[in-house]
Subunit: 379 residues, 2 copies
């Protein structure tokens, strides 16, 4: 049996939205799903208990780049892997570090072998190769390992995008080969998700999706979107990739996005999402709610004693008032960052749960069309 | 019946330590007790749920000075008081703002009438008089209101300390009179604790304690200690005040202190404590544990996967490892501040609960003597 299995339960009548279930050795995940980002082994400002009880997360992300630098692989191995280290015992997916190397590290140099870069923390020099990155993810102990890829910026010209995609494909073959040659370290199975690249060029996206699909991995990812391109272009590329990625495997759209981005991409056939937006924007006082987008720092909330959001099941969202949360932000209290992060994540998880419910009921497309204008309104 | 009642349950055999129970309209408090400081209506980095379930707080503090400036009295009144505003429905005590006006505000000028000062936030000018401060605490809705006092610095010369104490006494009379002329605003009762001052002069402390005792309030406080004087002098002054403060009323030592300070002052007859130390030092990585004091940022904890502290009942302290908490501090993760704050507060509450247990068992003095060297050790 595969390390990760996917059962497709329902497909929407008027869209390509799907409801399914992923099974891993650390438990099941009901899709479509949003995965909170726990960059350095901690979803910023949220405890593992709150993630479970309030956010109702089913899987979280870790970042290979960050975890490799801090706490370091020796510490993670001594702990028995990331699950043991941070106390999150449900599934974990690790980003390969490809994106972080290009967005955070200094003096990076790409060769066929891999990427040489300097740490953004202390300037120390490191090499990430496909083999090295697979070894690191073995040591982290992620349930889902992401392939090492190059994520070209937007816009990229065709020839760069093509060269970059081809490199990503060659690296993918090396990732697969390395994983075949090595074993998981902690007694449970790990699986690889390859990543479709190709920037905003249809023929490249098609070629990359076909290449990726042919590897017959347990799940597949689409990278290099939501990097500055217009939303319509993201949807076009995503829809195109979904056409060529197998239906019986989960599809993961990396780094996306706003609540409405998520709903639109679900309609195209995406099952998994991650994004720092709910936590990062939350820490800046931007709340996504069932009634629209709120800047909680606005004066208008000063005496609004209604709950942050009573349209979803989350103790913090229901218990604390907008006025209190606004006060915490105005007074620079750490508790404000915590409550906003918990709320936004709980909202994202609520949203995908609602999406799933409506896919199963068979009228996802209509529900999405009705709800997006409400979610988008600025209050 | 008084707004606050105190029943003395046990007194230690070989010290003046007492176990008692305070009853207020927001519930009971078992003494000796430590009160987490919620300066601006939030115990920094800790949710109200965590305060209740993990820290096991029974009463928290608010600060009149801070709450008056932010969110402001109009907001607190519109909310129906601080309990409604922040969702803490157990007892609340508010500091009078005397100490903050002297330590935080700019250009303060003391007259018989009160103190004119400039806000540390926006430089705006305000007057705090005994009457004004009582009115503010009525609006905050604290269960226990502190008298408006002047807290002289250490060292103070005798004549300044005497003049300051006499002013505090005249202000106390005005506080009592104002509270007699006004009513609680939210349907439950409030009570005043007067404050003993007198710096480090025995005759002043005695005179002040006698003056305070004669007001026959429901409880009494000792202020102006732990402001830089040697520990032995704090204990001497505190012991002297306790001699003159009535036995059948709770005694509150303001702003103290380390775990061993608390145990020593319990032995002198103190029932209530507050201090920012567990949260402030926690945020700097200093942990108080059942096995001594830890700087969690030290390299030595990098691969220590034992619980933060399994010697007390607190989910966070038991669940997360020292290595993980160290990693969170090294990586500047907000979660580190949260876990350290929860742990330190839970430890302080554990300590006073243990103290109470040993007072009731009749061998507090011996237990304290044995445990202080363990608590003080640097690990």
């Amino acid at each position: 049996m595969a390390a990760l299995t996917f059962s497709l339960q329902h497909t929407d009548t008027n869209s390509k939205a799907r409801a399914g279930e992923i099974t891993t050795d650390h438990g099941t995940i009901q899709t479509p799903i949003f995965m909170p980002v726990g960059t350095v082994g901690s979803v910023k400002a949220v405890t593992q208990q709150q993630l479970k009880q309030e956010v109702k997360a089913q899987i979280i992300l870790g970042n290979t780049y960050h975890l490799y630098l801090r706490p370091g692989i020796d510490v993670l191995e001594a702990a028995g892997g990331l699950h043991q280290f941070n106390g999150w015992h449900q599934p974990i997916l690790t980003d390969s570090g490809g994106y972080q190397v290009f967005s955070l590290a200094a003096n990076r140099k790409i060769t066929e072998e891999g990427v040489v870069f300097q740490s953004h923390i202390d300037g120390s020099k490191h090499l990430f190769s496909p083999e090295k990155v697979m070894d690191i993810q073995r040591s982290i102990g992620a349930d889902i390992i992401m392939a090492f890829d190059e994520c070209p910026p937007y816009p990229s010209d065709y020839s760069y995008a093509k060269k970059s995609m081809e490199l990503t494909h060659r690296w993918l073959a090396r990732c697969i080969s390395r994983l075949q040659d090595t074993e998981p370290k902690y007694g449970y199975r790990q699986t690889l998700f390859p990543i479709v690249q190709g920037s905003t060029f249809k023929d490249l996206r098609k070629a990359s999706a076909e290449f990726v699909a042919a590897t017959d991995c347990d799940g597949n990812a689409i990278g290099g979107l939501s990097v500055g391109e217009p939303e319509e272009m993201m949807y076009e590329m995503c829809g195109l990739c979904c056409e060529y990625l197998p239906e019986d495997k989960p599809r993961y759209l990396m780094g996306v996005g706003t609540p409405w981005n998520i709903l639109e991409n679900i309609a195209l056939g995406i099952d998994m999402f991650d994004c720092v937006m709910p936590t990062r924007n939350g820490r800046n006082g931007m709340l996504f709610t069932t009634q629209g987008v709120i800047n909680i720092k606005n004066k208008r909330w000063a005496t609004d004693f209604s709950p942050i959001d009573d349209g979803l099941e989350c103790e913090s969202s229901n218990y604390y008032s907008k006025a209190y949360l606004r006060h915490l932000f105005v007074a620079n209290e750490i508790l404000g960052l915590q409550l906003a992060s918990i709320h936004n994540l709980a909202f994202y998880l609520h949203l995908v749960k609602e999406a799933r419910k409506h896919i199963i009921a068979g009228y996802y497309h209509q529900w999405k069309t009705d709800i997006i204008p409400i979610l988008k309104q600025r209050r």
